[in-house]
Amino acid sequence: MELSEIASALIEGNRKRVQELVSLAIKEGVPPERIINEGLIAGMQVVGERFKNNEIFVPEVLISARAMHAGMDLLKPLLAKSPGILKGKIVIGTVKGDLHDIGKNLVAMMLEGAGYQVIDLGIDVDAEKFVESVKTYNPDILGMSALLTTTMPYMKVTIEALEREGLRDKVKVIVGGAPVTEEFAKEIGADGYAEDAGSAVELVNNLLGIKSA
């Protein structure tokens, strides 16, 4: 079989077909790295492009993302043996006091679509939990979101906690959300700021020195 068939099924959002094809590829002995890179991620990259080019909307992306997850679920058991094949690991969450998740979810979706492993801490995440997650997952990027002008200052609290724990240098911190600005990001010592979900992928690529598709 051609791995591009997996990509096509994923682009169509056909979850069942993706699962079938991934199973088949596993059986045929294709290395999981290749299935992921040439099948799933290749497909999601097309989806991401189409979204970026205003050809499709979020619901279509979500359906494809689900198909990708279904494929990944089959590959996960094999992946444990060959970690690090994804482009990078990202921990993401909405800061304490803030329960908005639509924006954060969109960012997570875009990043996953671009081939990143995303660990979503959810909403109302306090500094401690962010710090713990850095210790536990050792991510490349820590992303914080805030939609409220009153919770946005909590991003600084989190960065200070990372500093206190001596973890600040181990992870790049990015921030976003309606009230956040580039200046604010600089001011609190974040490594990057994304104006919207779309540009978050580009930002992460840049920070990790990965060329955008």
């Binding site: 979020v58 619901p59 359906i63 329960l99 639509i102 409220l148 002008t149 009153t150 200052p153």
Partner: protein, 459 residues
């Protein structure tokens, strides 16, 4: 539970009577303010600049609010504005700490009184309590501690000087947020038509009771968290505009329930579904449009004003612009917008101006189209035709599709191919939904059950 008032006929037998500045049932409140009695008044909104709120800086927060209000009222006096409404829209912290919200309310009311005494400036204060129930997931909409705190906040604010109580309620939003991103019409309809209804009944019974107890006005609600979220996501290119348009009409029956339970207006500014509710009930409405660009972009900047009794800027942070702070700047802009509308009455020219507001936007975006007077009037009729809220919701969704398709076929509006595809998809999805809400419940329960607690909706 208090019985809902079911409207049997439209407050306006003729479409042409609908006009800004005049409501069938005007209101008097605050320091001599009359709403919907022949003049459009500004409703000025304001919020803090980015800053956290905690015990240690609460004095600073109070001072900031006082400064904001002083500047707004000063500007109103300078521009010879005779009356205006202020809205204090709670930040979560102000509701979560009911005493805090009450102190700010009382501070603001005090300043309003000063200006009334000193300059004769008429003013009224709307306090919009934050729906903090969704700060817990899944939210406990009736039994949680947050619910109690929220009602306490209503009580204290009513006691400390609020003239009008409002809320942007979130019943069903825990499902709607996901259904929206997935474009799932079943989830959307269930959220607005079933969960929304149940929560609005519960919530507004309580708000109306509190209002009676403190002799204040139960204002109104908004489908902000639903229809405006859709509008914003469509603005960002995340969702189709046709979806946002359909949801806009579908949100009207839900927002109407506040009135059916006893709210009397002025309805909440960000509820673009308000004209439909005014047509049905005759209560005064607040609207926002071009002069709320500070809070969000919209494709309905002018059209949204055709039936407004209050004209609002939605929300603006207290940041400095060249001429002063943003809240006073937007006060000035609102005042001039209102002057224009009110001068039209002097020239006998108000209906032409109303039509001009509509013509300005109607064919540039389907979201404007579904807000137009003709569509609103038909929507109002359709709501009265059917007492079942789920069916009303479904019906209005289908009607929105019909209106857009019709305009497309007549070459009145243009939308992209992908938007067209979505329009057909939405139409199909809506047509496939059952007429009985229990059937839809079965269809989607599995998908959404982790997100909400059915007992909290009496289900």
């Amino acid at each position: 539970m208090k019985t809902r008032k079911i409207f049997k006929e439209l407050a306006y037998p003729s479409k042409d009577e609908i006009i800004f500045g005049k409501a069938k049932y005007p209101l008097k409140c605050g320091f001599g303010v009359e709403i919907g009695n022949g003049k459009v008044l500004p409703e000025v909104n304001f919020t803090l600049p980015p800053m956290s709120i905690h015990e240690n800086n609460f004095l600073e927060v109070r001072k900031r609010f006082r400064d904001i209000v002083n500047r707004i009222l000063n500007r109103a006096v300078e521009l010879e504005q005779e009356a205006l409404v202020l809205e204090l829209e709670h930040l979560y912290e102000l509701t979560k700490n009911p005493e805090w919200g009450a102190v700010i309310t009382s501070d603001i009311k005090g300043i309003m009184e000063e200006f009334n005494n000193k300059y004769g400036l008429k003013s009224a204060l709307r306090v919009t309590v934050a729906d903090i129930r969704d700060q817990e997931r899944p939210p406990r909409m009736r039994t949680g501690e947050l619910t109690e705190i929220m009602f306490k906040s209503f009580e204290l604010c009513a006691k400390e000087g609020a003239d009008i109580l409002s809320i942007e309620s979130t019943g069903g939003k825990e499902i709607h947020d996901r259904a929206l991103l997935e474009g799932d019409m079943a989830g959307i309809t269930f959220s607005l038509g079933v969960l929304g209804e149940r929560d609005m009944e519960f919530l507004w019974k309580n708000i109306v009771d509190i209002s009676k107890k403190y002799n204040v006005i139960p204002g109104g609600d908004t489908a902000c968290g639903f229809a405006n979220t859709a509008m914003q996501l469509s603005h960002q290119g995340m969702l189709p505009k046709v979806l946002a348009s359909v949801i806009r009409l579908m949100s009207a029956p839900r927002s109407l329930i506040a009135i059916e339970m006893g709210a009397v207006g002025p309805l909440k500014d960000c509820a673009y579904e308000n004209p439909i509710l005014k047509i049905i009930s005759g209560v005064p409405i607040s609207m926002e449009g071009k002069s709320s660009a500070c809070a969000h972009s919209s494709p309905i900047g002018n059209i949204s004003s055709y039936a407004c009794d209050l004209w609002s800027n939605e929300s603006v942070q207290d940041v400095k612009l060249l001429s002063g702070f943003a809240p006073e700047v937007f006060t000035e802009i609102l005042i001039y917008d209102c002057r224009l509308m009110n001068s039209a009455f002097k020239m006998g020219f108000e209906k032409k101006l109303r039509d001009l507001f509509i013509l300005s936007d109607i064919y540039l975006d389907p979201q404007a189209l579904v807000m137009s007077l003709d569509v609103a009037y038909e929507s109002a009729k359709k709501i009265l035709n059917n007492e079942n809220n789920y069916q009303r919701t479904l019906e209005l969704g289908k009607y929105a599709v019909f209106v857009i398709k019709n305009a497309l076929e007549n070459g009145k509006i243009k939308i992209s191919e992908r938007e067209k595809n979505w329009l057909y998809k939405i139409q199909e999805d809506l047509e496939n939904l059952p007429q009985d809400y229990r059937e839809i419940w079965e269809r989607i329960y599995e998908d959404y059950k982790d997100l909400f607690l059915k007992e909290e909706y009496g289900l």
